[in-house]
Amino acid sequence: MDHLDQLEAQSIYIFREAFARLKKIALLWSLGKDSNVMIWLARKAFFGKMPFPALHVDTGKKFPEMYRFRDHYGKEWDLDLRVEPCPPIDAVDPTLPPAARSAARKTEGLKMALGKFGFDGLIAGIRRDEEATRAKERVFSPRGLEGNWDVRDQPPEFWDHFNASPPQGAHLRIHPILHWTEADIWAYTKRENIPIIPLYLSQNGKRYRSLGDQDITNPVASTASSIDEILIELEQTKVPERAGRALDHETEDAFERLRVAGYL
């Protein structure tokens, strides 16, 4: 087994555990490279059919290419797609810096979707190497009744044994690709021939490393116009993946505050 085989087998194991041990789960589809890999892995885990909904919590501010991708592959992959809107910006904590406040709409939209469907598990495509607070995550991460994350009281998790009993009304975040890196995602996308949104590839000397909302995501300088070139670029770059994400740079703890409150 090579490195990608091992990552794949581990993620499939996690998917199957989540499906077996929770009553009602959904996969959060942000349309980006990570959640596309997740859907691919889920279809591997369940032999072609993802047996739970894909939930897109839609800010309404994604790139047109992303909406086109969603509408096309939602059908082609035979997904049970649920698109849920986010509340307007006025409904969000005004003390947050602008980009974080904009992003926090997603947290609120997520809470509304949770309330509407009663999911007890949400599968999310975060990775440890993306960002420092994500590195501290568990694979099965309990959330409080308000969707909040108590980083100081996380349950022990070892030997692929996961805690899967959320308190009544609360939910779990399940992270099947927590142990992957950005380079792993691209290498696997290439190997499996998973479709991607063209915004990831260089145009006019720039490309997106990470895709969020239009108003708070910026491209980085890059000449990588194929996955092979992206992989070479990743080996050499010292620019962090989320460099183009405005909210990460507003205040030191902006991201941590968002995550504790339930953001991905």
Binding site: E17, F47, A132, A135, P156, F158, W159, H161, N163
Partner: protein
């Protein structure tokens, strides 16, 4: 939190795979662990570019001489800030091995971290300060290695420069630690004098330790054996789920050890059901050809419809895991409330979960103090050995035979509260493990069969109460005896009067009743008897257990008399009592009798006479090789 992702097999330039050994470094806090790690990384050329310069700058800024330990501290800071998972495992290479160094830092959280990481170590390095010698903590760490089952331990006696490289001092420490470890059943693979700071004995044997003839630290690491590759162990595929998304019925799970391929004969434990792998399914291409090995998440289909549950284990017939309701485990406890005898728990072995009761706490140790507690409860961050009885049968292996299936976690209120290693599994109800050496019979099976004109067999009559099992059994017994055979009747109720008088009628006790009946019957069959068992044995799983115990000697006869006929007969008056509500747990009224699906013979006694039924049984026994048609060369065997 460590999540150990097995790294891909690293390949050498010529395409061969280097063995990978996981080691943990332990020892008293000031005895030089960090310095040794820094030195090892440096001397094996494993430090990233610029790291050495960075350490020099850090040391200079603090106005200190060069300090290796800043390397590990820096890595710890990185981890505290949560950079990546890889920093919890430091990698370097010796001549022939890739070493994965599992760091087990910290005091308060030592146990939690060490257990998580080091329970997967193949070996350990125990470090001792030459001046201070063996300290309490050295002994504690030795104990923890023993607890974790780490058998390969290289001891290094560090800071030899502080005792003028005295061979006498080295021998003193060497003798003391060897005696301690030997007492725990751990034999040191080497005891090495070193000065980690200056490099003596780490990668090179310097003049200052010229009197020492053994290996350097790097050489000692080079000799540690990697754990047996999981693929070389017996097949274990714990079932995560059964999927029926289309016309395939797929058994899904991860191969924890061994390998499988379509066509393999398998057994599903704990029930002991037998099947063949029809295909290995996948997506987007299916089925997949070729052998699938440990680590793969797979899906298989079988050649027959069997009732399989999450938590069952698929294994190869002949190398199946043990089935048990009782086991002994060495555990570590992380919950605030101490674990005590009588506690009710949820135990998970892979995907299998079972309610469990702590029957006994044999040892309860604070690894910090290394003292056994008097009250025999296991406190938070303490360790111990416990006996647990499980409400369901599970299939498991002692961890020495299979590290993947031989471990468990314990849940309290939906949260993991502890975990540990399966030391031994006990198929019976024995409280204390004892050495058992079964004594073989003086006679060979063919000597017996020549005399009695039949092979040993277990003839298992199952059916509703009053279906006619005992009547048939007695008729068969008389018939076989008349023909010179050696039949023996084992009636369920009769055995309940003695051997099984301790058992009630709970589901668990009924299972145990059947298990004992099967054991006794099988013993008789192996010694040439035809053991005729007449027992309702309503649970399919219990009969499957009996079949597994009796193996090829088992012949199942379903006495399939219609329920209304049985109730009308009611020779013991049981139906009447049950209808009146005076007989709890009575099989027959209600739907708890599970009809056999693959019995060797089905007989409806309402449709034929006892003689006809006995004829039919006799024919079946002939057809299946239990009874011989005629005497074959008796003289040759007597």
């Amino acid at each position: 939190m460590n999540m150990i992702v097995t790294p891909a097999s690293p390949a050498t330039p010529n395409g061969t795979t280097r063995p990978q050994v996981r080691i943990v470094i332990v020892g008293h806090v000031d005895h030089g662990k960090s310095t040794l790690v820094g030195r090892l990384l440096h001397e094996t050329g494993s430090l990233p570019d610029g790291k050495l310069e960075m350490l020099k700058a850090v040391s200079a800024r603090r106005g200190m001489p060069f300090e290796w330990s800043f390397l590990l501290d820096a890595l710890q800071t990185e981890r505290d800030q949560g950079i990546t998972i890889d920093t919890t495992q430091i990698r370097f290479r010796t001549n022939s091995r890739d070493i994965v160094l599992i760091d087990a830092p910290g005091h308060a959280e030592f146990l939690r971290n060490m257990i998580t990481g080091a329970s997967q170590a193949d070996g350990a390095v125990l470090i001792i300060d030459a001046l201070e010698g063996v300290r309490d903590q050295t002994r504690r760490h030795g104990y923890l290695l023993h607890l974790l089952g780490v058998k390969q331990v290289a001891v290094v006696v560090n800071k030899m420069d502080r005792v003028d490289f005295s061979a006498d001092r080295f021998k003193e420490i060497s003798d003391e630690i060897s005696a301690h470890l030997n007492g725990l059943g751990v034999k040191p693979t080497a005891v090495i004098p070193i000065s980690a700071r200056d490099g003596d004995g780490v990668a090179e044997r310097t003049d200052r330790i010229g009197w020492y003839k053994g290996p350097t630290v790097v050489e000692a690491l080079d000799q540690l054996e990697p754990a047996r590759p999981l693929e070389a162990l017996a097949l274990r595929l714990p079932v995560q789920a059964i999927y029926k998304f289309d016309d395939r019925r797929i058994v899904a799970g991860r191969i924890e050890s061994g390998s499988l391929i379509a066509g393999d004969e398998i057994v599903i434990m704990p029930a002991g059901k037998i099947a063949k792998i029809k295909s290995v399914e996948s997506w987007p291409v299916t089925p997949v050809a070729g052998r699938q090995g440990a680590g793969r998440s797979v899906g298989i289909t079988l050649d027959r419809e069997l009732f399989i549950e999450r938590g069952d284990i698929v294994a190869h017939a002949g190398s199946a895991p043990r089935e048990t309701r009782r086991l002994r485990a060495r555990i570590f406890w992380l919950h605030d409330r101490p674990l005590a005898k009588g506690d009710q728990l949820l135990v998970r072995c892979g995907p299998k979960e079972s309610r469990a009761t702590v029957v006994a706490i044999e040892k309860a140790v604070d690894p910090g103090e290394l003292s056994s507690s008097e009250n025999k409860a296991i406190g938070r961050n303490h360790v111990g050995e416990i006996d647990i009885s499980l409400s369901n049968s599970i299939a498991t292996d002692p961890y020495t035979e299979n590290p993947r299936t031989g471990r468990l976690v314990i849940e309290v209120s939906g949260r993991i509260a502890g975990g540990g290693l399966v030391l031994s599994v006990d198929a019976g109800q024995r409280a204390v493990p004892v050495d058992i050496v079964p004594v073989e019979s003086a006679l060979r099976p063919d000597e017996r069969s020549a005399r009695y004109r039949h092979n040993g067999a277990v003839v298992w009559l199952t059916g509703l109460p009053a279906s006619g099992k005992s009547t048939l059994a007695k008729a068969l017994e008389r018939r076989l005896f008349t023909n010179g055979g050696l039949p023996i009747l084992l009636d369920g109720d009769t055995l309940r009067a003695g051997l099984n008088s301790d058992l009630g009628f709970s589901t668990a006790d009924r299972s145990e009743n059947i298990r004992r009946l099967a054991e006794v019957a099988t013993h008789l069959a192996r010694n040439g008897h035809i053991a005729i068992v007449a027992a309702v044995s309503p649970a399919r799983q219990d009969r499957a257990t009996a079949r597994r115990i009796a193996d090829t000697t088992f012949r199942e006869i379903h006495v399939a008399t219609p329920a209304e006929v049985c109730e009308e007969r009611d020779p013991k008056g049981h139906y009447k009592k049950a209808r009146a509500g005076a007989l709890a747990s009575f099989t027959g009224i209600g739907n708890d009798y599970e009809v056999p699906q693959a019995a060797e013979l089905v007989i409806d006694t309402s449709a034929r006479t006892v003689t006809e039924a006995a004829d039919e049984i006799e024919r079946m026994l002939k057809a299946t090789g239990v009874l011989f048609d005629e005497v074959v060369d008796l003289a040759a065997n007597i």
